[in-house]
Symmetry: C2
Subunit: 218 residues, 2 copies
Amino acid sequence: MAAELTLYTYFRSSAAFRVRIALNLKGLTAQHKFVHLLKDGGQQFGADYARLNPQHLVPTLVHNGHPLQQSLAIIEYLDEVFPEPPLLPPDALGRAWVRAIALAVACDIHPVNNLRMRKYLHKELGRSNDEIRDWQVHWISLGFDALETMLAKSESTGRFCHGDVPTLADICLIPQMANARALNMGVEKWPTLALIERAAFALPAFLEALPKNQADAE
Amino acid sequence: MAAELTLYTYFRSSAAFRVRIALNLKGLTAQHKFVHLLKDGGQQFGADYARLNPQHLVPTLVHNGHPLQQSLAIIEYLDEVFPEPPLLPPDALGRAWVRAIALAVACDIHPVNNLRMRKYLHKELGRSNDEIRDWQVHWISLGFDALETMLAKSESTGRFCHGDVPTLADICLIPQMANARALNMGVEKWPTLALIERAAFALPAFLEALPKNQADAE
């Protein structure tokens, strides 16, 4: 299948960050279209983008005219259609473990902290910036504590979350660690995660996907 | 592979509900062990359960001695190890769509409304029961609006979210609709979802997985 790929992205979105890493690891180039989540009342709410993504969330990846939503579904799709290098291990137990780590970030940390949640906490519940930061730190810490326990005790943990090559687990973990750093949270408290982060940023696929290295970065 | 399956479940957990449906659709029987999320300060925090699930979340499925976490990772594993009937479509685009719908529930509705979130809103932010209900209704409505748009306009929608047989998408959607009903939200506002719910509850696999039909139901 030809790689006609367009990524609707926003530099700060950690879900878009995941897909940028996956594309880089696969050696795929996507045209980037920028959806600014704060300008114009949120460009994700515009009619054109809503047709591609009725959830009004980034990212969306369009492949040969087919819009794909939800970063984990997009990455599983990329792994099926462009299998090299694989982003999931070859065995079912390994895949379950990698997906569990990915979902522990993608379900249980990220959505409770994302932009729409912070907006709601501010506008509807009247929380201050400090209180919203406390909220974010709470859920990230809870999630990282569990991930540190899981990864520190697993025999399959290597330089990356599962073995010595990056998988879907690292693709989810690293953007969440970038969010933690953006909140000035130290990551030394989670030594296994910190080592994996160091291994990841030795690879251009992770480095080049960083928010600050995007064309729409501010 | 022999089916030595133990499910750590709680009747009210909609993540456990998903796995119960998947096991039923596959015709698999798992021994149930009950983790009461409210008794004893939360049995999910006990040392024995924490070894199986360092996130302190239900469900955990143990297969031949291997503990598996995160409902979506568990269901993907079941689909790989026990392939009949399949819970994902045969084509990559279909799988991406089904996973996107599943994740729109599992990431963007469920975790922002689950027990630990409601406890935090009550204890840390001092919100009343009514305010917490408003919070839940808000996020469920936002999610269902998007899902209704996605499913109403997709040519692949049939009696179920994708075609005429249940998939991972329905396995996530139906427990979330049960949560909406438990909050006394009508579902008529989302007619496509309501039709899918009716189709689902014509099947024993969904009916028997309902919270009220569990041995630990109160």
